[in-house]
C-alpha cells in the first residue's frame, strides 16, 4: 500500500491552464527498474493522444500518474492547470471528479449492479435519485447497454464490461478521459464497437483523451474515422475532406518518448524501431 505525502501545492505556472495534461521531464523508477525516464509531452484541449508501446514500456504508469494514483520521482505533472504532484490526496479527489478513467480490466465494482456502478460518482455527489436514473440510462444508451442495467458485472461479457466502464467514466461529462488499453483481449468485432464509442465521445462531446494501447489498427481507425451523428455511426474520413481529427501519437520505448506527432508523421518516420513497430 502506498501512502501519499505531499508538500504545499504550488500555483500552476503560466501556460499550463490551457493544456489538459502536461508532463514535464517526468521520471519514475520502481526499485532499480526505471519505468519512465525524462518523459515530456502535452495534451491540448479537445485532443486525443494515443500512447503506443510494447508491454511494460510504462504506458499505464503514465495514465495513473496523470491523476495522482502514482507520484513521479522527478518532474512536474499538470492536469487541467493543477500541479498534480504537489497536491494532497484529499485535494486530488476533487480534481479526479473532472476526469473519467477506463481501466484495462474495466475495474467495475463486482458487488454492485451495472446501475450502481455507472451511477457511482453521482451517488457519491448526492445527486437526486430521479436525475441519477435519467443520467445512468443516458450513459448506458450511449454504450448501447441499457438492457443490462440490473445485471452484475460477472454476468456480462468482457466487451460489455468494458462498455459499462466507459459509461461509468463519461456519466459526469468529464473534461478529460483516460483509456487504459480499452480493447485489450477483445475480439476484432467487439474492439471495433469500443473504438466506435471512443470516436463518438471524441466527436460528439469533444472530450480530451489520452488512450494507452498496443493495438496499432485501433489507433489508425480512430485517426482515420469520424462519427456521423445523423447516421449514428462511425465513418471513414473521405479523401480531400475538410474534417480535421485532433488525434496525435506518442510512442514509448523503454520508458522514453521516441515519437510525438501526427499519424502522417508516424507512418513516414525514418526511425528504425518505429518502422518495425508499425509494420
Amino acid at each position: 500500500m502506498s501512502v501519499l505525502t505531499t508538500s504545499n501545492p504550488s500555483p500552476a505556472p503560466e501556460g499550463t491552464v490551457h493544456k489538459t495534461i502536461i508532463f514535464d521531464h517526468v521520471s519514475i523508477a520502481f526499485d532499480e527498474n526505471v519505468v519512465l525516464d525524462d518523459v515530456s509531452f502535452e495534451l491540448n484541449r479537445g485532443e486525443t493522444k494515443m500512447l503506443l508501446g510494447v508491454l511494460g514500456s510504462g504506458k499505464s504508469t503514465i495514465l495513473k500518474m496523470v491523476i495522482g494514483l502514482m507520484r513521479p520521482d522527478r518532474g512536474d505533472i499538470y492536469l487541467l492547470g493543477h500541479h498534480v504532484n504537489s497536491m494532497k490526496e484529499e485535494e486530488l479527489f476533487d480534481l479526479r471528479r473532472q476526469v473519467g478513467m477506463v481501466f484495462q480490466e474495466s475495474a467495475l465494482f463486482d458487488s454492485l449492479t451495472v446501475r450502481e456502478n455507472v451511477a457511482y460518482r453521482l451517488i457519491e455527489e448526492g445527486v437526486d435519485q430521479q436525475e441519477i436514473e435519467r443520467r445512468v440510462r443516458e450513459a448506458l444508451r450511449f454504450v448501447e447497454l441499457e438492457h443490462t442495467i440490473s445485471q452484475f458485472p460477472a454476468e456480462l461479457s468482457g466487451g460489455m464490461r468494458r462498455r459499462v466502464a466507459i459509461a461509468r467514466a463519461i456519466i459526469s461529462h468529464p473534461e478529460v478521459l483516460l483509456y487504459d488499453s480499452p480493447t485489450a483481449g477483445l475480439d476484432p468485432v467487439t474492439s471495433t464497437t469500443i473504438i466506435e464509442l471512443l470516436v463518438k465521445q471524441r466527436d460528439v462531446y469533444h472530450t480530451s483523451a489520452l488512450m494507452v494501447t498496443h493495438r496499432l489498427p485501433d489507433t489508425f481507425t480512430m485517426a482515420s474515422h469520424y462519427f456521423d451523428e445523423t447516421e449514428n455511426k462511425m465513418k471513414p474520413i473521405p479523401p480531400e475532406s475538410p474534417i480535421q481529427i485532433p488525434s496525435t501519437f506518442l510512442v514509448l520505448r523503454e520508458g522514453k518518448i521516441i515519437f510525438d506527432g501526427s499519424v502522417y508523421e508516424l507512418v513516414n518516420s525514418p526511425d528504425e524501431y518505429i518502422r518495425e513497430y508499425i509494420a
Binding site: M1, V3, K64, I67, L69, E89, E90, F93, D94, R96, R97, V99, M101, F103, Q104, E105, A107, L108, F109, D110, Y120, R121, E124, R168
Partner: protein, 260 residues
C-alpha cells in the same frame, strides 16, 4: 528464491508497521471528516456482528462449560465447589470472554475483510474508487473499523453471558450445584475493575481485527495467490496482536486500578 539481507527484512517490517499505523490513524481521523458512510457502516455491523453471533455463542457456551468442568476437580479438593460461579464469572469477564470472542471474530472477519479488500485491490477496484474521487479509507476502512470495534463490544457481552450460562449448565447438571448459589457467587464476585477491563478490551480487539484486515487487504498484491496470502496473514497477525495487546493492557489496568 533470492536470499535477502537482515537489514532489508527489518526495513520491510518497519515500513509495514509505519503503513499500518498511518492507515489506523487515518481511519480514526476520518471519524471527524466528511463524507460519512452510514449505510456501509450498518452493512458492516450486520456482517461482522450478526454474522459472527453463532460462532460466538457456540464458543462462549463451550468455554464456560469446560471452565466449570475443569475447575470443579480442583475446587472440590479444597472443598470450595460452591465458588464455581465466581471462577467462571471472573475468568470469562476479565479474560476469556474478550480474548476468545476477539479471536473468533478475527478468524471470521479479519480474513473476510482482507480477502474482500484484497480482491478489490488486485482487480484495480481500489484504484478505480480513487479515480472516481472517493477516498477508500473513508468508504472502506472507517466503516469496518467502527463496526468491528462496536460489534466486538456487543459480541463480548453476549459471549460472557452465554459463557456464564455454559458454566451454570455444568454446575447444575453435572456438579449438582444450586442455581441461585451459582448466579449469586458469579454476580457478587465481579467488581468495577473486572467489568471495566472486560468491556474495554473488546474495543481494542475490535479495532485490531478491523484495521489488520483492512491493512492486509489493501496491501495485497500478486493476483489471487496474493489475496490468499493476505487473508492468512491477516488472521495470524490479528490473533497475535490480540494476545500481545491483551497482555500489556491487562498489565496496565492492573497497575492503574490496583487489581490482583
Amino acid at each position: 528464491m533470492a536470499l535477502r539481507s537482515p537489514t532489508e527484512i527489518v526495513q520491510e517490517y518497519l515500513s509495514a508497521i509505519q503503513d499500518y499505523a498511518l492507515l489506523s490513524g487515518q481511519a480514526v481521523a476520518n471519524l471527524f471528516r466528511r463524507p460519512r458512510y452510514l449505510n456501509d457502516t450498518l452493512m458492516q455491523a450486520d456482517s461482522i456482528g450478526v454474522g459472527s453471533l453463532p460462532v460466538v455463542i457456540m464458543t462462549g457456551f463451550s468455554i464456560g462449560a469446560v471452565l466449570a468442568l475443569q475447575s470443579s476437580n480442583t475446587l472440590q479438593r479444597f472443598g470450595s465447589l460452591s465458588l464455581t460461579g465466581q471462577l467462571v464469572s471472573l475468568s470469562m469477564v476479565r479474560e476469556l470472554g474478550p480474548v476468545l470472542t476477539g479471536m473468533m471474530v478475527a478468524g471470521r472477519n479479519s480474513s473476510g475483510i482482507a480477502s474482500e479488500l484484497g480482491s478489490m485491490k488486485v482487480t484495480e477496484q481500489i484504484d478505480a474508487m480513487r479515480a472516481l474521487g472517493t477516498d477508500p479509507t473513508k468508504k472502506l476502512v472507517t466503516p469496518r473499523v467502527i463496526s468491528g470495534t462496536f460489534m466486538l463490544f456487543i459480541l463480548t457481552i453476549i459471549g460472557d453471558i452465554v459463557g456464564l450460562a455454559g458454566g451454570w449448565s455444568v454446575a447444575r447438571l453435572v456438579l449438582n450445584l444450586d442455581s441461585a448459589q451459582y448466579w449469586q457467587t458469579a454476580w457478587q464476585s465481579l467488581e468495577f475493575p473486572d467489568v471495566f477491563m472486560g468491556l474495554t478490551k473488546p474495543l481494542l480487539f475490535g479495532f485490531v481485527v478491523a484495521t489488520i484486515g483492512c491493512y492486509y487487504g489493501l496491501s495485497a498484491k500478486g493476483g489471487t495467490q496474493g489475496v490468499g496470502r493476505a487473508t492468512t496473514q491477516a488472521v495470524v497477525a490479528a490473533d497475535v496482536l490480540i494476545v500481545i495487546v491483551d497482555f500489556f493492557y491487562t498489565k496496565l489496568l492492573m497497575a492503574l486500578m490496583h487489581v490482583h
